[in-house]
């Protein structure tokens, strides 16, 4: 397995992408480098090693097709370019850190050829800020279990680029629906309710952008979807250099694997958009929907997520922080004692208010 190891042009120390500065930083000599400089320096090396990996990838892809349905994850051995140690990764790992010397290593071949992402959103939230955001979020959560919000929990916080499919579509769609208009009026002691039913037809050109779906089956789908939204206007053309200092996963879900689910969602969105133009009706029931795709583009995109899995009272909780916006996602453990206090307090307050209200209404 060929690797790319980004080193400081000044001292040779490991280079990592710095989310705060949006530059590459050397932790040893404290130098900072703009991303275009590093990308130019390593362009040739990336291309050479990508080519070497291409055949290997294709062989892997074929193997994946043959083993479709198997849950076995292939283990892959690579050699750390810094210390020479043999390190084992999963087949989808595209960037990691050497377990022995802690140097960042990008497995270039994993993200080349047909597996080369179209774009990447670089990390904008550093690990320290991610922890801060998490602690800040915890402060507002009064019913969190005691001890959960400690910094120690988040020492293992890992920055990972996860693969996603992003779909932009332009299509002609039409919807037929039944809609009601209700009018109520009174004559003498009689109340009349007049319900007029209409057949509604809407046709139009729809542009729907940034529909996303995970491209990695080994991770919890809810978590990968829930960590959105990302601002795709901040996306860069893909360069492996952005992965330096973080982990990255390559996709293991192809377009065909998620196509029907994505189309279903786009149908829902398109129907919703056309329904939104049916104003003035109190009840709308869609009878039919048709569409014809004019344009559709699928972009393979890497998105930054800080992720940690923690164990609390025997249960494992995955937690994710959006590496671009700092949005937090994940199940939070609640304290049974605090919930009991909440229950008792609300019950007592409502009881007292009910009694006082009852007395006032006498």
């Amino acid at each position: 397995m060929a690797t790319v190891n980004y080193k400081c042009p000044n001292c040779g120390g490991p280079l990592k992408f710095n989310p705060d500065k949006q530059m590459f930083s050397c932790e040893y000599c404290m130098s900072d480098f703009e991303d275009r400089i590093i990308q130019q320096m390593y362009a040739e090396q990336e291309a050479r090693q990508s080519k070497a990996e291409k055949e290997e990838n294709e062989a892997y892809a074929e193997n994946s097709v043959q083993n479709d349905g198997d849950d076995v994850e292939d283990a892959v051995v690579y050699t750390c370019p810094s210390c020479g140690a043999e390190v084992v990764t999963t087949a989808s790992t595209a960037a990691t850190t050497c377990f022995y010397c802690q140097n960042p290593v990008v497995l270039g071949g994993r993200l080349s050829g047909k597996f080369k992402p179209d774009r990447v959103v670089p990390f904008a939230v550093s690990k320290e800020k991610a922890v801060e955001k998490f602690i800040e979020m915890c402060r507002k959560k009064w019913f969190l279990a005691k001890g959960f919000a400690s910094k120690k929990q988040f020492e293992k916080l890992t920055g990972i680029y996860f693969p996603y499919w992003y779909i932009d579509t332009q299509r002609q769609a039409d919807v037929t629906a039944l809609g009601n208009k209700v009018r109520t009026y009174r004559v003498g002691s009689k109340r009349y309710t007049e319900t007029s039913t209409y057949r509604l037809f809407r046709s139009g050109n729809l542009i729907i952008k940034n529909v996303f779906e995970r491209a990695l089956k080994s991770q919890d789908r809810e978590m990968l979807q829930g960590v959105h939204p990302f601002d795709l206007s901040q996306a860069h053309d893909f360069s492996m250099s952005y992965l330096s200092g973080f982990q990255a996963e390559k996709r293991d879900l192809e377009k065909d694997d998620v196509y029907s689910a994505v189309q279903e969602r786009i149908h829902e969105y398109a129907t919703q958009l056309l329904e939104d133009t049916m104003t003035g009706f109190s009840a709308i029931r869609v009878e039919s929907y048709n569409d014809k795709i004019d344009l559709e583009s699928w972009n393979y995109t890497l998105l930054p997520v800080w992720i940690v899995t923690y164990k609390y009272k025997g249960k494992i909780y995955p937690f994710a922080i959006n590496g671009q916006t700092g949005k937090t996602y994940g199940e939070l453990p609640t304290s049974k004692g605090k919930l009991a206090v909440l229950f008792a307090s609300v019950t007592a307050i409502v009881f007292v208010l009910a009694v006082l209200g009852g007395m006032l209404l006498l």
């Binding site: 809609g179 509604l200 809810e222 939070l332 007395m359 006498l362």
Partner: protein, 269 residues
């Protein structure tokens, strides 16, 4: 001058006496015998009045005996003569015996402190004591029996451990006496259920909020879409009209029934 002072003194004494006599009338009880049905002769009336006066003074209650031919149904006796009690403005503490010879119904109503001397057991007892006389149309003896038994009950005092289901406390009196106690006693189950539901809902709400933290708002369709309508048709199909008759009556209720003063009753017998 002395003559003037004497006159003033005499007037003051008279006023004082008049005031004290009124006060004592309230303090020592009184009686009212109304014999519209003419069941008693003059001698019986006199004897009954003497007995009623003595009983009234002894108990401090107003003793009422009322005979009539009003033809009140047995089911309505209690509330009809309860209204009569209210309209006549009898004393707060009162025992009233009514003979309605129209449909041959009788009833004993009690009020105020007197209610608590007439337990259900005593009501049954006094009715059975009077029954032989009533069966033989001996109204006078039945009334005497009623007065004597009432006196016995007063002397025995308020019974402990007996039931008092014959007593009906007026809703508004209950409310006015202790609104908190009234609300709690009447609606405590509803309040507890509402409170428990609110408490449980708050816990479920918090638990779900924590469980689903960050799941909302992952895709903003509005900011990620453009709609260019090319055709828009709204075709009328049909119309349905439903008609509901609405009552024109209006009004409200305080919530509880108000059927006159708080009272105890033997029920029609």
């Amino acid at each position: 001058m002395m003559n003037f002072i004497g006159r003033i003194s005499a007037a003051l004494c008279t006023a004082l006496l008049a005031f004290s006599s009124v006060t004592s009338a309230f303090a020592y009880g009184s009686y009212t015998l109304t014999d519209d049905a003419m069941l008693f002769d003059a001698a019986q009336t006199q004897k009954l009045e003497d007995m009623m006066q003595n009983l009234g003074e002894k108990t401090g209650w107003e003793i009422v005996v009322y005979t009539n031919s009003n033809y009140v149904d047995a089911d309505d006796m209690e509330y009809y003569y309860n209204d009569y009690y209210d309209s006549e403005d009898f004393s707060d503490d009162c025992v009233m015996l009514v003979f309605d010879t129209g449909y041959d119904n009788r009833i004993i109503n009690t009020y105020g402190d007197a209610m608590y001397y007439f337990s259900d057991e005593r009501m049954d007892e006094i009715k059975s004591d009077m029954k032989p006389y009533l069966d033989s149309r001996d109204w006078y003896s039945a009334t005497v029996q009623f007065l004597e038994t009432t006196e016995d009950y007063f002397e025995q005092g308020k019974p402990d451990g007996d039931s008092f289901s014959n007593i009906e406390i007026n809703e508004s009196e209950k409310k006015a006496e202790n609104p908190l106690l009234y609300v709690l006693s009447e609606y405590w189950i509803i309040f507890i259920v509402i409170s428990l539901v609110a408490g449980a809902s708050s816990v479920v709400f918090v638990y779900l909020r924590y469980k689903n933290h960050g799941k909302q708002g992952t895709y903003d369709l509005k900011s990620n879409s453009v709609t260019n309508l090319t055709q828009k048709d709204d075709v009328f199909l049909y119309k349905n009209v439903t008609v509901v008759n609405e009552s024109t009556r209006s009004g409200g209720s305080s919530g509880g029934s108000n059927r006159g003063s708080s009272h105890g009753s033997s029920g029609s017998f």
